[in-house]
Amino acid sequence: MIFLIFIFLAILGIDLPPLIRSRNRREIVVYSLVYLFALALCFLYAAGVEIPSPVMVLGDMMKSVGISY
């Protein structure tokens, strides 16, 4: 978990300065959303929370309507 925090701080250190210098508020907001999504996904996985796989969910749905080999 500490290693993960270190990685995400490093990512911020690399990406944030050029974004702030560009002064594009929209890009900063969108980047923050993508970053927070990645952060949440990584921490949930590291904490052992079971995250459903979209491919498995789609596969089950297709099988339930008879679309599969």
Binding site: I11, I14, D15, F37, M56
Partner: protein, 383 residues
């Protein structure tokens, strides 16, 4: 707005296409367990079946010169629907990247570094890929395609010659004795899993130098090299392993375990492992790059490099959660993926081409000079 402005030569594109297909030789286990000794026939059927799909891809790019896949979606379907379709493509590219990352992790873990934690194997690959995508971009990624393709071809031909003594042509008999559905199922897997994955090249076809004259030639050339390699590997594995092929998770690797030059120079499978890791690294980097530029295009970023690292983290975690184990992955590759992948690989490009043609026909049928002006997004002379 175009995200990637760099240009690549036709030869770079051709070898990138062939390298991308050669990296899929690990995935022969998806179809050899279905069509067994007739797998080479399924490869040939898939090659023929892929030609019209490739024609759709090329027509789509040629009818919208200078535009990438996402700009075409915007032009054909309008801004909102176009963005939704581009987002579907982006999620598909993200899934492909994670799947291939997972394949590489599984392969290295099972064959070479069985005691190294999975997260280390995947993490190292992603750090290298992120560096390549962040610092190099299109030209950097495609630069080594030629070297990888030639090395891969050399190793495949060399190992085929070396296993010649263990080949038994009776392993191909009896031919054509399976139900038609078996060939169709197997060919569908080959069509969707390595061949039609070439859709990931659609966002950069417009970055080729002189795309009008040579695009077809180079794309077909790359497909021919990649398809021939897959056919050669399938023929070699069938001749050596016969019907036992479907007992193995990696038939090509098992074939190479049997190669022995002399008593001291054996274990040639390490050659295969070396080139396969190299090719998979190329494929993962390519898919990662395409996922990043697709995300940047959908989110309207000016510089894709700002998204390389967060997207890389998403790809890494996604590769862990995709399938609970290798068996679930193989089952999905046989039963679900051949049908699910068709939506993004065949259906969407075909619909885009068709809608574009219909719009062009309607516009040319209108009397010129009169009536209302066409919407800005559809005001493209290429229609």
């Amino acid at each position: 707005m175009k995200i990637e402005k760099g240009k690549i030569s036709g030869l770079h594109l051709m070898f990138s296409v062939s390298c991308f297909l050669q990296a899929s030789t690990l995935l022969t286990s998806f179809f050899v367990s279905i069509s067994k000794r007739d797998s080479w026939i399924a490869v040939l059927i898939a090659c023929v079946a892929f030609l019209p799909v490739l024609w759709v891809y090329l027509r789509l790019m040629e009818s919208h010169p200078g535009k990438n896949l996402f700009e075409i979606n915007d032009a054909v379907f309008g801004r909102i629907a176009g963005r939704i379709i581009s987002a579907i493509y982006t999620s598909f590219f993200l899934t492909l990247t994670s799947l291939n990352l997972r394949d590489m992790g599984d392969f290295v873990k099972q064959t070479i570094m069985s005691r190294t934690p999975y997260v280390v194997l995947i993490g190292i690959c992603m750090v290298m890929s992120a560096w390549d995508v962040h610092s190099g971009g299109l030209r950097q990624i495609t630069k080594f395609g030629f070297a990888f393709t030639v090395t891969s071809l050399f190793i495949v031909i060399f190992t085929t010659v070396q296993t010649a003594g263990q080949m038994d042509l009776n392993n191909f008999l009896p031919m054509f004795d399976m139900p038609l559905e078996t060939y169709a199922h197997s060919a569908n897997i080959i069509l969707t899993i390595p061949f039609a994955e070439l859709i990931v090249f659609l966002p950069i076809f417009c970055n080729m130098e002189n795309p009008k004259q040579k695009l077809r030639k180079y794309v077909f050339g790359g497909f021919a090299i990649g398809g021939a390699t897959l056919l050669l590997v399938t023929l070699r594995d069938t001749a050596v392993l016969g019907n036992t092929m479907d007992f193995f998770a990696m038939p090509a690797f098992e074939t190479l375990r049997m190669v022995s030059l002399t008593q001291t120079l054996s274990r040639m499978e390490i050659l295969f492992a070396f080139i396969l890791i190299t090719l998979l690294f190329f494929k993962i980097t390519w898919l990662y790059y395409i996922t990043v530029i697709s995300t940047a295009q959908v989110l309207n970023f000016r510089d894709y490099r700002q998204l390389v690292l967060p997207v890389g983290m998403i790809v890494t975690v996604y590769s862990f959660i995709l399938y609970p184990n290798v068996l679930a992955h193989i089952a999905s590759g046989r039963e679900i993926a051949p049908l699910l992948w068709l939506v993004c690989e065949v259906f969407l490009p075909a619909v885009t081409l068709l809608v574009g043609k219909i719009k062009k026909a309607i516009r040319s049928a209108r009397p010129s000079g009169g009536g209302t002006a066409a919407p800005a997004s559809n005001n493209d002379p290429s229609f």
